[in-house]
């Protein structure tokens, strides 16, 4: 059958059925990408620093929000801090009761000016208090995907 021969019906052509694998790539931006890659590969946090304004950005930013200067000073920051505030979630997105309440906390980091909202675990809800010292628990290296979920949760120190 030449290329010029017109195919009248799909069965006239040789065909295979199956799935064609495709891959997509998502990037969280230049600074975000470096931040997530560091978590994935080394299990630690990176921040950018504006020396003029004395601000350590975590999660990192490429520009200082105070003086607009480009930030190229990268530092490792500790993955520990304290509970600024927390909530105990009792319902799922469908308003059904969760089998076990989950704790979500806003953790401010000791070595940076920012913080993260993430799960808190290895503790009962009634034992959590504001100001409690916590540290990040990273997933096993082969389970990390390069996202915020590579942190499994924070736990009391």
């Amino acid at each position: 059958m030449s290329l010029l021969h017109r195919i009248e019906h799909p069965d006239d052509a040789l065909n295979w059925h199956g799935d064609m694998p495709t891959e997509g790539r998502y990037t969280a931006g230049i600074a975000g990408e470096r931040f997530f890659r560091e978590i994935k590969e080394k299990g630690q946090f990176l921040a950018t620093v504006c020396l003029d304004c004395d601000i350590t950005y975590m999660p990192p930013r490429l520009y200082c929000e105070e003086c607009f200067s480009h930030l190229d000073e990268w530092v490792e920051v500790g993955s520990w801090g304290h509970v600024h505030t927390f909530t105990v979630v009792h319902r799922d997105l469908d308003n059904e009761p969760l089998s076990e309440p989950r704790i979500l906390a806003f953790v401010t980091l000791d070595d940076a000016d920012g913080g993260l909202v993430h799960y808190l675990d290895e503790i009962e809800p009634e034992d959590v208090y504001l100001g409690m010292r916590v540290e990040a628990v990273f997933r096993a290296e082969d389970e990390r995907q390069g996202s915020i979920s590579d942190i499994e949760y924070f736990r009391p120190v």
Binding site: F86, T87, V88, V89, R91, S147, I148
Partner: protein, 399 residues
């Protein structure tokens, strides 16, 4: 580099036209399974245009957040224009999360003030109940930071719960102290035929409500619902209906803040709302004490408290005290949510900001019925997108 605020804009403001709201319309807020998105919008547009006494417009701006995600329908500008008999005019959808409605009003204001259009119809419309709860809640979470907040399941309920717990800790309040906001909203909704929840709530009922995400319970929260509201804007000089009080847009202002809550220096300060309010006061030449009623964004009770503080009605940590002192009722120092607010009128997200404007106009026209604020001359509406990342404030005044 010259800072933008240093640029002299005085010359520009001199050529701006004064803008009036010449018509308002709304549908009942609720679960409208039998009515499509376009039909909801149409009902509100028709009501507003009939109220204004106009049959044509130069532009249509549609405030909406979730139509693409929940209804599989984008391109609402042309869609609504087509179905409202306005085919051919300029029409766009405006999106700023839960602030979409007021953002659309803002764009309408800009067009009329800037002499780019004479008559602008603005409609806010949202349908949230055609999808299952998890899908709707996940779609709403798209207004948070997708990489850092929403990725591991934080929703707006949990983000507000974090703020509420911190507020209670920092300023020494108990959960039941937030009750006045819900009680007041439900009380006012009783007399609003368009409100979703027309039943009273007591302090006891508030305290016993089902816990969702501590300390936020069901009665701290606004509902998922459907609705549409519309306004017609025109130059003030052409808006002299002798049978009706003329309502002027004294100020329209926007402020923004970090998208993610964790990036804020103090999460209990709504910096975007402070900026937005301040710009509105400057634009209108008024102070908080001049405001007769405040339609604030009570998506959760904690947001009502923080809004009162950011807008200058209470010092930091005292927004709740204002409510506890009974100052937020119809006859209080600063009446809020006078027709039920987000809590009880309902919170169809992209429509909410327009409902607020409609309700302020009702008050300034003296047509708020049982809920009329005595001698209401200046009213303020503030619509918030996300956890305070986009804040749009309008001040309306009798003219």
């Amino acid at each position: 580099m010259r800072h933008p605020s240093e640029v002299d804009c005085a010359a520009a403001t001199e050529i701006m036209r004064e803008v009036a709201v010449i018509g308002v319309g709304q549908t009942a807020v609720g679960e409208h399974w039998g009515i499509s998105l376009r039909h909801l919008a149409l009902e509100a547009v028709q009501a507003a245009m009939a109220d204004a006494g106009v049959v044509r417009a130069d532009a249509l701006y549609v405030g909406n957040m979730l139509s693409g995600e929940l209804e599989g329908q984008e391109h609402l500008g042309a869609l609504v224009a087509d179905f409202a008999g306005l085919r051919g005019i300029e029409a766009f959808k405006i999106e700023a999360a839960c602030g979409s409605g007021a953002a659309a009003v803002r764009m309408g204001y800009v067009a009329v003030a800037g002499e780019l259009a004479d008559i602008v119809v603005v409609v806010g419309v949202e349908k949230m109940t055609d999808t299952l709860g998890p899908d709707t809640t996940a779609a709403l979470a798209m207004a948070a930071d997708a990489d850092y907040e929403a990725a591991h399941g934080a929703s707006f309920v949990t983000l507000n719960a974090l703020l509420m717990r911190r507020y209670m800790h920092q300023y020494g309040y108990a959960h039941q102290d937030f009750a006045p906001f819900a009680v007041n909203a439900h009380q006012n909704a009783l007399n609003n035929p368009y409100a979703m929840f027309r039943f009273p709530v007591s302090c006891e009922k508030f305290s016993r409500a089902r816990m969702i995400s501590e300390p936020i319970n069901l009665l701290d929260s606004s509902p998922i619902c459907d609705g549409a509201a519309a306004v017609v804007l025109a130059p003030l000089c052409e808006a002299r209906d002798p049978s009706m009080t003329t309502v002027r847009v004294a100020a329209s202002a926007v402020g923004t803040d970090t998208l993610a809550v964790h990036d804020r220096k103090d999460p209990l300060v709504l910096a975007g709302a402070e900026l937005s309010s301040q710009r509105a006061y400057e634009g209108a030449g008024v102070r908080p004490a001049d405001i007769d009623l405040f339609e604030l964004h009570d998506a959760f009770t904690i947001m009502a408290a923080l809004s009162l503080e950011a807008a200058g009605f209470a010092d930091r940590g005292r927004g709740l005290a204002l409510a506890l002192d009974g100052e937020i009722g119809i006859n209080g120092r600063i009446p809020v949510t006078t027709m039920g607010g987000l809590k009880a009128r309902g919170h169809p997200v992209g429509a909410t900001g327009v409902y607020q404007i409609v309700e302020v106009v009702q008050q300034l026209r003296g047509l708020a019925g049982e809920n009329q604020v005595p001698n209401a001359r200046i009213g303020m509406a503030q619509n918030i997108g996300g956890s305070g990342a986009t804040v749009i404030t309008h001040i309306l005044e009798q003219s």
